[in-house]
């Protein structure tokens, strides 16, 4: 060896040692880091690893079915077929190395063949559109212009094991054909989707409503209940909305292990099966609903043709069993077609509905507030009797008009004001029954607002409000439909608070006949009639007959619910002479209710509705007409609001048989004119149909009871 050894090293000792120290330091540092990750923070990372491999899969449940009272299906679920491609199951590599620009040329020939065959069957082009950030962001399956290749590219880059919809809602025959040819179409599948279907469509859409996607604001609420936003739908209107919790059911759940591509490997826990929603049997009789719709639309069209102009474009009919509160028919005109919302809510149709001045999506039967007009004379009439303002026999004179002196403000000069009867020459001397039967306005001015020359003190606004409320006015009925309005029963406090004006005697005059500030929904008008028809018992109006589970067992049977009985429950608050509450309450005396029924019977036999019912096979009905003057923005635009000759809504409520009622019907026609000539025939038609159907159901041929 020619080299000279220094020490036992060929290097300077410290230089090698320093490298060794570096090795030990770095190894030590890594062991420290490892300890930190694995032992100190191990649990956190383990949790992340668990999160990676586990996925909760929600198994969709079936929404409950809605029937009418005769088990006729009003809402059901039908199968809809979608063509899907699972990219991972296509032969070869569909993404061609992940370069979208190469899709056309670099694709596997086998995949191309599958695309071509499928394209020939379903008509979606093999390649259309371009893949870029914009199109990928806006991509939405079922509603895309992209070709098969582009859709698969998007699917493949997101979740290659998840089926992607290529075309939605194909014909069942085509679905069968694609299934039969599955050996030629590897990776292509048929997905069966449950879609809501409404066999009766627009006839019952007001009642049934429709479904829509879970709204963003309610996402947390529905997610807690196990719903999947974006997939599951919830009720947006009608029974679908109010009975959401009963119809919705509960989704099943599976906790599965997935690999990085999203492929399911196994269940980690025992799967929870979905619980189907409960079925609902409504109180509606679809046949009567149909008859009511035809009666309403037919009558409106008849008068529009008669006048050669579109007088009226809006009306409501509601039929109910007054003894149980079951709603047998509820018709709005105009309405909408809920089947068009089954798959998704189409923007153009929705906008068309929203922009329609007659608001087809608005539930006029329960949400529209109109002056009720003379149908509101019933609360005035029973109030005046019950409070002893008049006796039934006492006659008051109707000269055609009366003049009272009044002033708006204390420092204003007094002015004479004239109030007219609908019959300009007047009805002459009238007792209570005649006043009701002829709907004599002056009679009601006098008993409502008082008339000193005759020695009548009048019911006054406070007590009138009590009797109106007892008959269901001024509050929601609580029917199972969304958006119910409460109407308006004013009193002097209300006027001072909201309009800043004092209550005038004239206000009481017109309130006594359902005009002025008074507003009511058609359902409230029906309820007020039904309470009287049912001897003072206010039955909760309902659309739900019973609730059944998915196997058809009754879960919640029908029980008529009594809200109150005006002859037994003390619902009338007693005021003293200074219009202050005394704290006492009282009932309506039964003979007053009986007399009210007689009065309504007299309307049909002798009074304002005599002509309508003369030739009807139903000769045992009772009712009340209403011709309500109104001046709203629509009328103002058309310059119809001329003093003394305002346009009028047409009202009528009726029930039959008068002594033992089983059907009560209200009809309302917007700008319909006289109650007796427009609304009354509609009610007659519905009541006749009811008895015809009843006879048919019991096997009789003739419809007259």
């Amino acid at each position: 060896m020619e080299y000279r050894r220094s020490d036992s090293f060929w290097f300077e000792h410290w230089r090698l040692i320093s490298v060794m120290v570096l090795v030990v330091l770095i190894a030590g540092f890594y062991i420290y880091k490892l300890f930190d990750y694995q032992v100190v923070e191990g649990a956190k990372f383990l949790e992340q690893a668990e999160e990676n491999r586990t996925t909760r899969i929600s198994v969709p449940t079936q929404r409950g079915i809605i029937y009418d009272r005769n088990d006729y299906v009003l809402a059901r679920n039908i199968a809809s077929y979608n063509v899907v491609i699972t990219p991972a199951e296509l032969p070869g590599d569909p993404s061609a190395g992940g370069d979208p620009r190469k899709l056309n040329t670099d694709l596997d020939e086998n995949v191309q063949a599958v695309y071509r065959r499928l394209s020939a069957l379903i008509g979606v082009p093999v390649s259309a559109g371009e893949i870029n950030e914009e199109t990928v962001r806006l991509f939405s399956p079922c509603r895309t212009e992209l070709g098969i290749m582009q859709i698969v590219y998007i699917a493949d880059t997101n979740a290659p094991y998840a089926p992607m919809r290529i075309k939605c809602n194909i014909e069942p025959e085509l679905a069968m054909k694609i299934r039969a040819r599955s050996s030629e179409l590897p990776g292509v599948g048929i997905e069966v989707e449950s879609v809501r279907d409404y066999p009766t469509g627009s006839l019952t859409s007001t009642i049934i409503g429709f479904l829509g996607p879970i709204p963003a604001v309610d996402e947390a609420y529905y997610r807690n209940k196990g719903f999947v936003p974006g997939r599951d739908k919830v009720g947006y209107a009608g029974i679908e909305a109010t009975m959401q919790d009963i119809l919705g059911g509960k989704n099943g759940e599976r906790l599965v292990e997935v690999d990085v591509s999203g492929k399911e490997l196994r269940n980690l826990t025992t799967p929870v099966d979905p619980v189907p929603g409960n079925n609902i049997r409504l109180t509606i009789d679809t046949r009567l609903q149909n008859a009511a719709q035809e009666a309403l639309v037919g009558e409106i069209n008849f008068w529009n043709n008669w006048f050669h102009e579109t007088r009226s474009s809006n009306g409501v009919v509601i039929a109910m069993n007054p003894k149980t509160g079951e709603i047998l028919a509820l018709v709005n005109y105009p309405t909408y077609e809920n089947n068009r919302m089954a798959r998704f809510i189409p923007g153009d149709y929705y906008n068309q509905l929203v922009n329609d001045p007659w608001k087809p999506l608005f539930n006029h039967a329960i949400s529209a507030e109109h002056p009720p007009g003379s149908v509101f004379k019933m609360p005035t009439a029973i109030g005046a009797l019950n409070e002893g303002v008049v006796t039934p026999e006492q006659k008051l004179n109707d000269p055609g008009q009366i003049t009272v002196i009044e002033r708006n403000l204390l420092n204003e000069p007094v002015r004479p004001f004239t109030y007219v009867c609908w019959k300009p020459e007047g009805h002459g001397e009238m007792n209570w029954l005649e006043g009701v039967a002829n709907s004599c306005d002056v009679y009601f001015y006098k008993i409502g607002g008082g008339y000193a020359p005759d020695g009548v003190s009048g019911l006054g606004p406070w007590r009138l409000a009590e009797y109106a409320m007892a008959l269901g006015y001024g509050q929601r009925t609580g029917i199972e439909l969304p958006g119910e309005a409460s109407g308006l029963i004013p009193n002097p406090d209300w006027k001072r608070r909201n309009l800043g004006e004092s209550w005038l005697p004239g206000d009481t005059y017109i309130a006594s006949m359902g005009q002025g500030y008074i507003l009511a929904t058609p359902l409230q008008v029906l309820v007020s009639a039904a309470i009287l028809a049912n001897d003072g018992k206010y039955m909760q109006p309902t659309l739900i007959h019973d609730i059944l589970d998915s196997e058809g067992n009754v879960v919640k049977p029908f029980e008529p619910k009594l809200k109150w009985d005006i002859t037994k429950d003390p619902v009338i608050k007693v005021y003293d002479e200074n219009n202050l509450l005394t704290g006492e309450t009282k009932t309506v005396q039964p003979w007053v209710v009986q007399l009210a029924k007689e009065g309504m019977r007299l309307v049909v036999t002798e009074g304002t509705a005599k002509k309508v019912w003369e030739n009807s096979p139903v000769q045992n009905s009772a009712g009340k007409t209403g011709t309500a003057e109104y001046c709203d923005n629509i009328a103002r635009e058309k310059n119809l609001c001329n003093r003394g000759s305002w346009p009028t809504h047409s009202w009528y409520f009726g029930y039959a048989p008068y002594d033992d009622p089983e059907i009560a019907v209200v009809a309302f026609v917007y700008n319909g004119g006289e109650g007796a000539s427009v609304a009354a025939p509609i009610v007659r038609n519905v009541i006749e149909s009811y008895f015809r159907l009843k006879a048919f159901d019991s096997g009789q041929e003739t419809g007259t009871p």
Binding site: M1, Y3, R5, S8, F9, W10, F11, E12, R15, L16, V19, M20, V23, V24, I26, A27, Y30, I31, K33, L34, F35, Y37, Q38, V39, E41, G42, A43, K44, F45, L46, Q48, A49, E50, N52, R53, E257, V258, D259, V260, S261, L265
Partner: protein, 374 residues
């Protein structure tokens, strides 16, 4: 041939540690392929490479390492020639041409170049031992190194280039580089890095550096928390894999991160994470300690070597092992940007395994022929 008693000098502990690490590597690769049928044959291949490697270690330890000293010029030529061959017959994989298809197997000449450069540089520094440690000495060793590194850079293969540069630096250091030069080198290096970062943000095209390499640095410095793929995702999943291992690991073949393939490049770059996930802190520390043991055993050979060439050879190889290990584990632990360096003896790779075996063979040859203590 060696005399019988010379085998007593053979470093059985080093050889044993290498055998344990290699076999453990095969087992780990088998777990890491996670049922992927395409990758399944890698296990068989690695087994073959491991056996070839054991053979190579024995054969090379029998050959006197001083023999390679005389072949240094020839080997240098072979390294450059094989690297140049890539440009003519090279096979591109994953974006850069690094492979030479010999018809039988794919060879990665840059892997062999590492070993050849250890021999060449060890030879250079042994021969220039008596020369003054001046600027000329540094530059001439640099030019010698750069003669090979240039072609590797052009492939492009930045990580292997850095490995060779590091070997050169470490040999300069141990051969007595004056400390003031070290400061100059550190200064030059800092300026270089600053320039690189400046260029990185200017977006200009830099020779020898691929866009993906800049991206890696960028994602290391400023990770995108929402990335579902690419380097950020890979590193993130590596950390989750490591952390989920806990103290004793999820068990061989049981790590969900590995078996359900959330962890990417599991059998090469991120095999450390796979191992940490399945064997936990205890198992991983044992492997790190074994690797450190192998490195220190190489340095021991360097200390005991009979001549400077042997000492530099063993030392250089020890540095190579150390640097690869440090970078690979550093990437796995997210302390270094992603590079393509494998974990010695454990990651999958034929050329890498074979060149590591050659290195161990050389170290054993040095230790067999060490100076005897009287």
């Amino acid at each position: 041939m060696l005399r019988r008693e010379t085998w007593k000098q053979f470093d059985f502990l080093l050889f044993g540690a290498v055998i344990i690490l290699s076999i453990f590597g095969v087992a780990m690769i088998r777990s890491a392929i996670a049922g992927n049928e395409v990758l399944a044959e890698l296990v068989t291949r690695q087994v073959i490479y491991v056996f070839i490697s054991f053979g190579l270690i024995i054969v090379l330890s029998l050959i006197d390492y001083r023999y390679w000293s005389s072949l240094a010029r020839l080997l240098y030529g072979v390294a450059i020639f094989s690297l140049l061959m890539i440009y003519i017959f090279g096979t591109a994989l994953f974006g850069s041409a690094r492979w030479l298809d010999t018809g039988l197997i794919l060879i990665q000449p840059s892997e062999l170049a590492k070993i050849i450069m250890i021999i060449v540089l060890a030879n250079f520094f042994a021969q220039t031992r008596e020369r003054p440690r001046n600027f000329r000495w540094v530059i001439s060793s640099f030019l010698l190194t750069f003669g090979v590194v240039l072609w590797i850079l052009l492939q492009p293969n930045l990580s292997t280039s850095i490995v060779i540069i590091v070997i050169w630096l470490s040999m300069l250091w141990v051969s007595g580089l004056p400390v003031k030069y070290l400061w100059i080198l550190a200064g030059v290096g800092t300026v270089f890095v600053i320039l690189l970062l400046a260029l990185l943000f200017s977006g200009a095209k830099i020779p020898f550096i691929q866009p993906y390499q800049l991206e890696r640095i960028a994602t290391f410095l400023f990770p995108d928390p929402n990335a579902r793929h690419g380097n950020t995702y890979n590193v993130e999943q590596a950390l989750v894999s490591i952390g989920s291992g806990g103290l004793f690991g999820q068990g061989y073949g049981n790590s969900t991160q590995v078996q359900l393939r959330f962890l990417k490049v599991r059998h090469t770059d991120f095999i450390f994470s796979a191992m940490a996930s399945e064997f936990g802190f205890v198992g991983t520390v044992i492997v790190i300690l074994l690797l450190v043991f192998v490195i220190l055993r190489c340095f021991r050979a360097a200390a005991l070597a009979a001549d400077p060439f042997g000492a530099l050879l063993a030392y250089g190889f020890g540095v190579l092992l150390f640097f690869q290990m440090a970078v690979n584990i550093g990437v796995n632990l997210n302390v270094i940007p992603v590079t393509g360096l494998t974990l010695p003896f454990i990651s999958y790779g034929g050329s890498s395994m074979v060149s590591l075996a050659i290195g161990i063979g050389l170290v054993e040859s040095v230790i067999l022929r060490r100076k005897s203590f009287e």
